[in-house]
């Protein structure tokens, strides 16, 4: 660990805090339909789009209509992506002449990108045409993010509105997310990334003759345009197999910095939007403080773990000096070093991004355990765009419920009484997640189809499977990538998990939003538990850790913890 490493972390956090407030306030204006500085350019486009969609933008939806619109759109766009993949050999921009994608893989990939997961069972540069990547996959990077933001905003409206039947208009919320937030930032970010060396072209792969007269084929593509929204929308699906480790996706330390910033910026800003729209900015900050606490602990642990030398190597210089970063370099690129890799890994798993700039499978057992645990907490430490905020609000509801139990009165959240229906919806959300992960992991270790996917034997093999299902259910998409996921068992099982992790959790969420909107607000009394205090932050953090730890600790102790202990007793597999 170096002073420079800590300095990079501090710089990252400072810039994040600086940018999140203006963006959060801006997003509140966007979703409350107020004027923004982009109106002169975008308002006419927005109106034109509504006319083309056939949408009446003044119409408000109740939660059932909102849910139905969200589900139907997700279904239609999933089908379109499936068709594009299957038919890519008939379509343009396929300079390498790749054949159509096989059915199981096409289905897994369409489900993966529709759900904002971006789990990838394939090697993109030998499988997907440029058109598939642009119109099939990068397209969903925009839309799945927009849907996530829309649902989060609907929930915030549920809290903010009083005795209302409606929670907004799905088409309007999605359209405004894209036009006013995602697209403008992506355009700027894509161009800055090109300036750093991220490629952006439609050329066939380049054939080079190396200095030692060997032939090297260099994959190309429209990468920067996809890279920008891949990070900004916390999608994480790489244009290339090695994702943001690939020099054409992430060429310099500055591009690395920008990509990590892009992951957190919208989820962080949404805490400001929450405070703004519910007229309790202190609550937004309290939620932000809880996220920051959990993030900082994870980051320090990963940085420490990855700086440790491998205990069983001889004749290798693993020290940290001015001339080398040292530590665990397997699966890491020199330009990022330990600090740049640890920061990326923590952020990408805290948020449901899943892009990687280093290979998590080759992390130290404890470093790997922390990134896995980040996902297990439910993708709420900043979390995915939108999904992070609504996931966190579930824990907020549980926290005020527990606080209410302690003093024996009906809990309130920002003036709304939290009653049986609300707690049931919240519990449904909290239970579905581990249920899917643990049941399918158990099924995989009991079947040969599941066990055949393991590439690293011993306790690490269990961690590979556990990571795969956790990543899919959390809609993260990163992997212990040695696992062979391109089999029917994993393609179909993980496809199901991704859909469950997205939609089985969004629906109770919207039900909760609809129910909260119906209630009238009661003024705070001396017995009300304030949700803008540091006491609240501590309680919230405690609830998250206890739920996460109790659920997954047994599985973790059989995987990474056992692996760590054995490795330090010189046991290899």
């Amino acid at each position: 660990m170096t002073a420079n490493g800590w300095l990079q972390f501090l710089l990252y956090f400072a810039v994040l805090v600086l940018l999140m407030r203006p963006l959060g306030i801006y997003m509140a204006r966007v979703f409350e339909g107020q004027r923004t500085f982009l109106d002169p350019v975008l308002k006419p486009v927005e109106r034109l789009l509504y006319r083309l969609f056939g949408v009446n933008s003044d119409e408000q939806m109740n939660w059932r209509e909102y849910t139905m619109a969200m589900l139907l759109f997700s279904f239609v766009s999933l089908v379109l992506t499936y068709v594009i993949e299957r038919a890519q050999h008939f379509l343009p921009w396929n300079p390498q002449g790749f054949p159509g994608v096989t059915p199981a893989l096409a289905w897994n990939t369409a489900a993966s990108f529709t759900t904002n997961t971006n789990w990838q069972s394939y090697v993109p540069e030998v499988t997907m045409s440029y058109l598939t990547q642009m119109a099939g996959l990068a397209y969903h990077n925009f839309l799945s993010a927009a849907v996530g933001i829309a649902v989060a905003i609907a929930l915030v409206r549920g809290v903010a509105r009083q005795q209302a039947n409606t929670i907004g208009n799905f088409w309007v919320d999605s359209t405004r997310s894209i036009l006013y937030v995602l697209l403008p930032i992506s355009v700027i970010l894509a161009l800055v990334l090109v300036s750093q060396g991220v490629v952006q072209n439609l050329k066939p792969y380049t054939q080079a003759q190396t200095l030692e007269h060997a032939t090297q084929i260099i994959a190309q593509g429209p990468v920067a345009s996809q890279e920008a929204i891949k990070m900004l929308g916390t999608n994480g699906g790489g244009f290339f197999n090695t994702n943001s480790a690939h020099p054409f996706e992430n060429p310099t330390p500055f591009s690395n910095f920008l990509e990590i910033m892009a992951i957190f910026i919208i989820p962080a800003a949404l805490t400001v939007t929450l405070g703004r729209m519910t007229k309790s900015p202190g609550h937004g900050w309290a939620v932000f403080a809880c996220m920051t606490l959990l993030f900082a602990v994870a980051l320090v642990t990963v940085y420490w773990a990855e700086s440790q030398p491998h205990p069983l190597l001889h004749g290798v210089d693993q020290r940290t000096t001015a001339l080398q970063a040292g530590g665990n370099q397997e699966g890491k690129d020199v330009r990022f070093g330990i600090a740049g890799s640890a920061l990326f890994a923590t952020v990408t798993t805290d948020a449901s991004c899943g892009a990687v700039n280093s290979m998590h499978d080759s992390f130290t057992p404890l470093g790997g355990m922390v990134v896995l645990s980040n996902i297990m907490l439910g993708e709420i430490v900043f979390g995915g765009v939108g999904s992070g905020l609504y996931g966190m609000l579930i824990y907020v509801v549980l926290s005020v419920f527990i606080a209410g139990l302690m003093v024996g009165r009906t809990p309130e959240y920002l003036g709304k009484k939290i009653e049986a229906y609300d707690v049931k919806m919240a519990m449904l959300y909290v239970l579905i997640f581990p249920l899917v992960i643990l049941v399918l992991t158990a099924a995989s270790v009991l079947t040969s189809a599941g066990l055949n996917g393991i590439s690293n034997p011993g306790p690490h093999g269990l961690t590979q499977i556990l990571y795969a299902f956790t990543s899919a259910a959390g809609n993260n998409g990163s992997a212990f990538a040695g696992i062979n996921g391109n089999t029917n068992w994993y393609n179909i099982g993980l496809g199901f998990t991704m859909l469950a992790g997205r939609f089985l959790m969004m629906v109770p969420m919207l039900g909760l939003a609809g129910n909260l909107a119906l209630k009238k607000s009661v003024p705070p009394s001396p017995g009300t538990f304030p949700v803008n205090s540091s006491l609240f932050t501590i309680l919230l953090t405690g609830v998250i850790l206890i739920v996460g730890a109790l659920t997954f600790f047994p599985a973790l102790s059989l995987g990474p913890i056992l692996e760590h202990l054995l490795l330090h007793h010189a046991v290899l597999f």
Binding site: F73, P247, F254, D317, V334, G340, S362, H460
Partner: protein, 189 residues
């Protein structure tokens, strides 16, 4: 529900045209106006043919060239098939591979511990860089093969060390292809 489905279909088609076609094509156009070379992958041309990309690693085996890190991409530095090793630290294959590589490296540097990046595979399998420690470790071998003085080669390495970006981001590094090109240029003079 049918009317909602119709909206969903129109919404999907129109946003696909906007975000799946117009956006990436416009970005391609703009990128070529602003940073043509970078948008095309910073290809290096020598004697009329492309020898590689300045930011993609390639295989070097000869004693007269600096070597990059071991690569898991295809058969090594396959830039159309990027990959890390994805071996766990507890995997015997990893420890055996590293021990084997250490033995090879120490033939040219007896008794000197090998800088860790020279015996570990990068995440991308295409890492264009090695650490300054790893470059300095190879100076003697390269100088001997090229009948140059160690000092002259060390000088060249020192001028090719890229510091942290803006003095703070990332790690110091040496681009292997560019260093080797400079060696060849020096030899041609």
């Amino acid at each position: 529900m049918v009317s909602t489905l119709k909206i969903a279909i129109r919404f999907t088609v129109i946003t696909t045209i906007l975000l799946g076609l117009i956006y990436p094509l416009a970005m391609t156009g703009l990128a070529h106006v602003l940073w043509r070379d970078k948008a095309n992958g910073q290809l290096i041309t020598k004697d009329g043919h492309v020898v590689g990309s300045a930011i993609i690693g390639q295989n070097f085996a000869g004693d007269g060239y600096f070597h990059g890190r071991p690569s898991a991409a295809g058969n090594g530095y396959d830039a159309a098939n990027s990959s890390g090793s994805n071996l766990a630290l507890s995997n015997k294959k990893l420890v055996d591979r590293i021990n084997g590589d250490v033995a090879t490296w120490q033939k040219s540097n007896p008794g000197q511990p090998v800088p860790v990046d020279l015996v570990t595979m990068s995440g991308s399998g295409l890492d264009p860089d090695i650490t300054p420690a790893a470059a300095l470790y190879q100076v003697h071998r390269v100088a001997a093969a090229r009948h140059m003085s160690d000092d002259a080669v060390r000088q060249l390495v020192m001028t090719h060390i890229q510091g942290r970006q803006f003095g703070i981001l990332g790690e110091p590094r040496v681009n292997v292809l560019q260093l080797n090109l400079a060696l060849d240029e020096g030899a041609a003079k």
